[in-house]
Symmetry: C2
Subunit: 703 residues, 2 copies
Amino acid sequence: MSIFNNNVATKFSDLKPRGPGGEALLEAEREKINFDVKSLSKFMYTEAWLDKLHRVLSVIESEPAFDKTSRYYQSRSEKIKTSLWKDRRMVELARLFLREHLWDEQEFQIANFLFDQSSPFTLHYSMFIPTLKSQTNDEQKKLFLEPALNHQIIGCYAQTELGHGSNVQGIETTATYIPETNEFELHSPTLTSSKWWIGGLGKAANHAIVMARLITNGKDLGPHPFCVQIRSLENHAPLKGITVGDIGPKFGFNSVDNGFIMFDHYRIPHISFLAKFSQVQPSTGIYSKPPNAKLSYGTMVYVRANIVMGVRYALAKATTIAIRYSTVRQQFVDAASPKKWDNKVIETPVLDYTMQQYRLLPIVASAYACFFTGREMLRLYELNQEAMKDGNFDLLADLHASSSGLKSLTTTMAIESIEDCRRACGGHGYSNFSGLGQFYQDYLPNVTWEGDNYILTQQTARYLLKTFRNVVAGKAEPSEYNHTISYLTQFLQNTTAKCPATKPADFLNPELILSAFGFRAAYGIAKVAEQIDREGRSWNSMLVEISRISKAHCQFILVRNFIVTLQSDPTLTRAEHKPMNQILRTLSALFALHTMEKELSEFLLSGYLSSEQCAMLKEQVITLLDVVRPQAVGLVDAFALPDYYLHSALGRYDGQVYEAMTKMAEAEPLNHTLVVDGYEENIKPFVHQGRTFAKKDVSVSRL
Amino acid sequence: MSIFNNNVATKFSDLKPRGPGGEALLEAEREKINFDVKSLSKFMYTEAWLDKLHRVLSVIESEPAFDKTSRYYQSRSEKIKTSLWKDRRMVELARLFLREHLWDEQEFQIANFLFDQSSPFTLHYSMFIPTLKSQTNDEQKKLFLEPALNHQIIGCYAQTELGHGSNVQGIETTATYIPETNEFELHSPTLTSSKWWIGGLGKAANHAIVMARLITNGKDLGPHPFCVQIRSLENHAPLKGITVGDIGPKFGFNSVDNGFIMFDHYRIPHISFLAKFSQVQPSTGIYSKPPNAKLSYGTMVYVRANIVMGVRYALAKATTIAIRYSTVRQQFVDAASPKKWDNKVIETPVLDYTMQQYRLLPIVASAYACFFTGREMLRLYELNQEAMKDGNFDLLADLHASSSGLKSLTTTMAIESIEDCRRACGGHGYSNFSGLGQFYQDYLPNVTWEGDNYILTQQTARYLLKTFRNVVAGKAEPSEYNHTISYLTQFLQNTTAKCPATKPADFLNPELILSAFGFRAAYGIAKVAEQIDREGRSWNSMLVEISRISKAHCQFILVRNFIVTLQSDPTLTRAEHKPMNQILRTLSALFALHTMEKELSEFLLSGYLSSEQCAMLKEQVITLLDVVRPQAVGLVDAFALPDYYLHSALGRYDGQVYEAMTKMAEAEPLNHTLVVDGYEENIKPFVHQGRTFAKKDVSVSRL
């Protein structure tokens, strides 16, 4: 049947889409933009960063190891194999530092950002090396960190177990000190103690940071980190006493070899115990405690600030695709307001429908909201690090608590928004060529890892309740940095305050918006405090309300950072940037009011808003959609995400959606043969039963 | 390196999970159940159906073509190939009718249900054959339907185009009558006219129903169906003039070969035009119109009733997995109420946390809600079919409108619930072994196909607004079958009614619940009518509110059918079934009150509920969770879904979660070799740089 192995019948002809084409439609959209798109990009990224982006892009776009053409067609093992290739090539490119490509660390990060797919070495960089940097003594730095930086060893970070996730204190793997040989014995006592979900462990790593319960002199001292060799450096075979492998296919993230590992009385040398903060004395096995390290909270704030910044990219990517496609895709003629093109009625671009605007434009606004809050979190992180050096821990509690809730809130927003954008692309959103499917799958773990999004809200709520009690007791004063105390104080001064709005446009007033969000958060906190402190309700029975007050607090922060930055940022308040500031102000109002509408029952229950005001609020949201609509393409263009990064048929800058869909369909491996594998056994016998074939029935012309 | 091709290091030892094991925990749960699980299963499915289920199950569990062991590891082409195998074997088994296995049509359906994965032949059964049955004349039945029933031809249904989805009237493919040869010429004039998304077309089908614009005597008569051969019956090669192939990878549904097809002046004989309802006269090309067929609305009701019943299965599957795993999975010790086992404190099973109950138990309730509404829709469908035969179309409009909104509402509920259940399984929910990942991916198109969920709400809303205007004008009388008219009439009699609840338990009163849902739906409809009819707002600007009133109406129906059935069903009201009725009543209240809480702002805005009542409502929801919690495992066991169907490590009936996870990980194809493909090129060069190897560094013992 090899005569069919040409691809004629699956090649599309040169036909054009029915006009107007995507190019013309997007061009018309871009003519409507009333602010300078490039200035907005520069404001968000800096010109220097954008230059780096383009330099790195030009390199990797022509690197076969970074080619994305086959990304959506690959099987699991192909994904792993090509990811390893990319990992190797990345190291080679980075090593060209000071020679051909001049990549610094930021450019290395940009290359990973643009490639946009985690790989077996990802955890080597994001967890193995940072842990070695922060938790080793000098001898260990030489032994582990230096070869890790040179890729002479490849590592991962093994904490989670099959039966133990969020509750790290419950892990079962033990590391028992053996004074006779000055070794530790790693052991997995049960099936549930198997390390599980460990990125890079399944197939790539030869070392692992293993979190295990330190036992010395018969005492269980809880989880501590060990740096452990797990595979041969000569031939990569697992070492004796170790059971290790890949945990199997996942919802996404299949380019990473998440692995399992079990230890059977596996001996490791004394030096394996990471000894920067606590030590086990050789021979005696005497343990010395780490200093109580509030400092590590600072690192968590940093990680979470970056997650919030990452949310901005996720929302930017999803909306860039959905908004551009929504201006190209046309559906039905809106009889009341028919769209014309060259004096002819055409079907209406779906972004002209209010429902589509309502589904997408608030997400564009939330991308900007996350940008401003991420930036503010990084600023406060720096401030706090400085303050802590001077022994000042005043900032830390508020910052840490907010960062927990913000990680929870914004990653949940992100995943919902990616899916909303995907669905807003109609049927084609379901094709992997949309660029939104694998993206959703790969993004999804963010709601579970780095703190489960439900559990995290308890941390935030605990702080909010404690602060409330302090404010009530007069033990907390408002400060420049602590807005929690400010809104709680304001609430306690007038617990029956009412929203002053008398017409829809009043809801555009930033002060009114901030008061509303502060009041609503404070009201919820006060209610929960009352139920726990006065009515004696258990923490467990209050978990639903507890997650609500964390969310209310973090929505206040997002709204506040957006509004305050627009009022105070020196770049944005320059006269030349007035149009840009104007559209950002509109977006900040849309973000705030749409959020209020989503959470309307809480604003109503607190007594702050009346039914009449809610109707005004809803009206104002629809009015804002109308204002943002013509700027929509400009607002996503300003995210400056290259086509290589998006890898989406629907989200292309040039709008050639249908041309791209057909090209990508041609490349589907199933189309490489005209007759499907399985035809002979499973289709032919039915079709041929009791039939003889006339000449005309065969596609002779093709043979 | 073949010495590593044994699998020793990736085989788990015989260790047990840390106790208590899943078996013991689930057994303890089952001891708490206070109703008869089997009776509830029988009530929902009938004993006869359950017998069939078990008979079919025993056959396919030992059929290699139905084996699910490799399901989660397969590449796209492996999925297609094994799906074709299953399709063939299914035909063979069905043909054994009256011989060995005695499968009737229901058993055939059960086998497909249990296999739980669509395949290339799926559309042959669900669209090709039904269309041929309903739209052909006798000659065409002989020519197309008979061979289709015998699988001598395999077909699909080609309507959607690359540029045209919901707006069927906008499709571009033409079928021009050529009187000279008495043929039609199928043609695809543009790239956007390519048929797209057509299940079974990509690789399997040799025929297609093609929807094309009929053009005869220069007149465009809009879309009509044609039955068209597209591939050779002798060797399966595409016929000349056709471009056909698979559209590529999708978010899910990758076991189906969704395809594209374009026609280049492709001639088909006159007989291809499906001629039951309209005809083109040979030679003259004179067209005769179909009778105006309201009748087809009946079929849509039937399809949608089955979608709602399908939602019940989706919710049942998701909750069975999540509830069982939540009783096995333990996390943290709840200090205020520590869980004991054999007098020892253990970590608390996560289902004991209120938040977990709040996330899962309302979904269990909604599965039952969908069952009762699906059943009622099927009953009304039958009633309506009978009525229409007598020329009575009174029932149709309400039934059709409700079915549109219910399809939209319940499939949206289903997909959100599947994801909520997946997330409630923590980290392991992200593993494909949870059974929830591919399930989510495959279920997702339900929110877009058979009517996009947003667009459908407009149909419902149009009917609701029209009915409202009729009621206001005194032109509509309440009837036994039209509850829309009833609640609108009731609302208009007192538009400022208030909820009479004075304590939390008052919210358990079914009459109070129904009044609340009716009032809230009517209030929303009245508001929208006012804004459109009096304030002159455009339909487009009202789309957000329009989707809300459709939802409000359909939530009323779901709540009503649940409550009324429990009050009136002859089986449920029997004395012996009192415990079963009791728990179902609790579930109906949980479903209703949790829905009210989700939509609280609408109940508040309508003025029906006060803030104080909302607090009572929330309290009552938490109380109900407490009542349902001990019955949770019984309620999902009653869904009677076999382990073969669930194919989930987390949802197993016996609770052996961790044993199953490790077994399935062992089977991951990446673990079939100890050293990963790509090691030599991409890892070894780094690791070996500047290193010599001592004997000890190699895992000699294994070699």
